[in-house]
């Protein structure tokens, strides 16, 4: 049987999906890139900086967006998810479901629609730390640079929004759609989500001043809820004593049994953010082991030499509120064997990564490991490949490597019996 389709479908438009799509398309293959959010970039675009060089993710993403724009063979579909998959390698029929955006390609991102609605919605880009208007640009570096209207804003102010748009870009009747694609191979780059810190019942995440690591990224970002100033969520004051708690969920049979790999460097990076903003702030890092592997160790050594960054070898037992509502970390220092209870202004839980697929399995049979990561063993034979954190906990550079490998496997798959 000959190959009917050589089109490669990439599910997920994060750093891994973008990389896989660009790599495959630049070698001459037709690629469809699906993203469920209104813009590409995934988790990476929500980061403030990368470790270890502390450069901004916008830089690398911009290069990739340019590559997408210059490659006509990539078809980017945002707000789209896979509803069903049937068939086999070379001849998959993939049913794609597109959610309504209510804005068409005429949009110039002028922002007049935002002024026309009074509806406020939770800002998912900032992990719900603030709100935004119901007619919005996902974020300032959005690709595609196009507004989105929330269904509740359409319901409340639809006509006013349509009247405000000078470019006839508002489509009030957009009901989304479902359509089929003929696909040769599928790359699952569905990524990850931060482990829900509410499940860490002893770590007091319900306290305002106990946040997780992805929220810390938003606090430190110039387009975040605090315009890049790291402030206590409870009262907006500058924190003086900050704790970073490692392995919040990871390496724990009660939660995520595996090491999420990125959190140690992530927290070292957070310590660097804090020290950059506050000359007199003190940072305590609670850890089991600092896993700064290979070249990343120099970043660890740099932070270790900072006298205001303390490393405390201990997995905290619990985080309580004192009489003023400030978080207090309690546990045993495993070097001195002292039992401590130390108050902080701000506590950052380094929550681990769990595969996004725990909240919605791909509608197709695909091999998983014991933790739910997608690990198809013979992707180039079966036409289904995983890339990035969908395949295991990886940092950005390792995700990019994995995505490049996935692109090659997908190409092998669609070429193998042509």
């Amino acid at each position: 049987m000959g190959v009917e389709s050589q089109t490669i479908l990439v599910v997920g438009g994060g750093i891994a999906g973008i990389t896989a799509a660009v790599e495959a398309a630049e070698t001459g293959y037709e690629v469809v890139l699906l993203e469920k959010e209104p813009s590409l970039g995934g988790r990476v675009t929500k980061l403030n900086r990368y470790f270890p060089k502390l450069c901004h993710p916008t830089c690398g993403l911009e290069i990739n967006y340019q590559r997408i724009k210059k490659t006509p063979r990539i078809n980017v579909m945002t707000m789209s998810t896979v509803a069903a998959v049937s068939g086999e390698k070379g001849n998959f029929t993939v049913s794609v479901k597109r959610a309504p955006r209510f804005v068409n390609a005429n949009c110039t991102a002028c922002g007049e629609c935002t002024k026309a609605t009074s509806i406020e919605i939770s800002n998912d880009f900032n992990y719900g730390l603030d709100t935004l208007k119901g007619a919005y640009l996902p974020h300032e570096h959005a690709f595609p640079m196009r507004y989105v209207i929330a269904p509740e804003a359409i319901k409340a102010d639809g006509e006013a929004i349509k009247a405000a748009c000078k470019y006839d870009a508002i489509d009030l009747d957009d009901a989304g759609e479902t359509f089929d694609l003929n696909i040769g191979a599928i790359i699952w780059a569905t990524g990850w989500q931060p482990y829900d810190a509410n499940k860490l019942t002893m770590y007091g995440y319900e306290m305002a001043d106990v946040i997780n690591n992805v929220e810390m990224e938003r606090l430190a970002s110039h387009d975040g809820p605090t315009k890049g100033k790291i402030l206590r969520p409870s009262n907006g004051e500058e924190p003086k004593k900050i704790a970073l708690v490692q392995c919040a969920g990871s390496r724990d049979y009660n939660h995520l049994p595996y090491c999420s790999r990125i959190c140690c460097l992530g927290s070292l990076k957070h310590a660097a953010y804090i020290r950059e903003q506050y000359a007199d702030a003190e940072v305590d890092i609670y850890y089991i082991d600092i896993r700064a592997h290979d070249k990343l160790e120099s970043f660890y050594v740099k932070l270790k030499n900072d006298p205001q960054v303390n490393f405390i070898k201990s997995k905290p037992a619990r985080i309580e509120a004192d009489e003023n509502g400030n978080p207090v970390i309690c546990g045993e220092d495993t070097i001195s064997r002292d039992v401590y209870a130390t108050p902080y202004d701000l506590v950052v839980l380094a929550t681990g990564m769990e595969p996004s697929t725990v909240c919605g399995k791909p509608p197709v049979e695909i091999e998983e490991d014991e933790y739910g990561f997608l690990v198809p063993k013979a992707g180039e034979v079966d036409g289904q490949i995983s890339a990035g954190v969908a395949s295991g906990p990886l940092d950005v550079s390792m995700s990019v490597q994995s995505a490049t490998a996935a692109a090659l496997k997908a190409i092998q798959a669609v070429r193998s019996n042509s």
Binding site: R251, D252, Y253, S314, A317, R318, E332, T334, R337, V339
Partner: protein
């Protein structure tokens, strides 16, 4: 767990960790310990313990048999199970501690007369096996006098007020100890338990 560890007199014994793994209830998971400190941090009595569970596990691995078995930590444990449910590596901390505590007494590293919990356990066990119930007068009395006659009088007098209060509110009765029905069955159950334990130790 009545098996005697191989070298009861050695201060250091490098085979101790292996012996604990093979003979102590839950000891087979002790090698999962990654020294994070959650057990000692979660323990409500950690500040009363000289070593605490995490350090004990490290010392067992280091073969510091004598230092481990002279620890007070085993007898501070109130079996609240915080350590067991919180341990990120599913080490049944409490079980191992209890096993080591029993070994410490059995091999003479600690004397029962110094360990109030062990003497209380004896009194408790005597009452349960004899009557099938704990007698609220005999258990404390036996325990008070287990530390010696003078100490027994002292402790009894110190608790007299409580005892009278309990009598008044009918929390303590006068007369013969209450007994369970069918104590022959209880005896058979206990004998079976001893037999099972012996079989397990025979196989270890």
């Amino acid at each position: 767990m009545n098996a005697v560890s191989p070298t009861p007199t050695k201060k250091y014994d490098l085979s101790f960790a292996r012996w604990v793994r093979d003979n102590i209830d839950g000891g087979d998971r002790m090698n999962m310990c990654m020294q994070c400190g959650v057990c000692s941090g979660s323990c409500p009595l950690s500040d009363q313990m000289d070593l605490g569970p995490r350090k004990i596990f490290m010392m067992v691995r280091a073969g510091m048999k004598e230092a481990v078995l002279k620890s007070n930590s085993f007898f501070q444990c109130v079996s609240c199970y915080n350590c067991v449910v919180r341990c990120p590596r599913e080490v049944p901390v409490k079980y191992i501690l209890h096993g080591l505590g029993r070994l410490a007494i059995q091999e003479g590293y600690q004397d029962k007369k110094d360990v109030a919990n062990a003497r209380f356990a004896d009194a408790f066990w005597w009452s349960v096996t004899t009557f099938g119930k704990t007698d609220e007068r005999l258990v404390p009395t036996l325990y008070f006098f287990s530390a010696g006659f003078v100490e027994g009088i002292k402790k009894s007098l110190a608790n007299l007020k409580i005892a009278l209060g309990m009598l008044k509110t009918k929390r303590m009765h006068i007369g013969m100890p209450h007994k369970t029905k069918n104590r022959g069955e209880l005896k058979a159950i206990l004998e079976k338990a001893v037999e099972i334990q012996a079989r397990h130790e025979g196989g270890a």
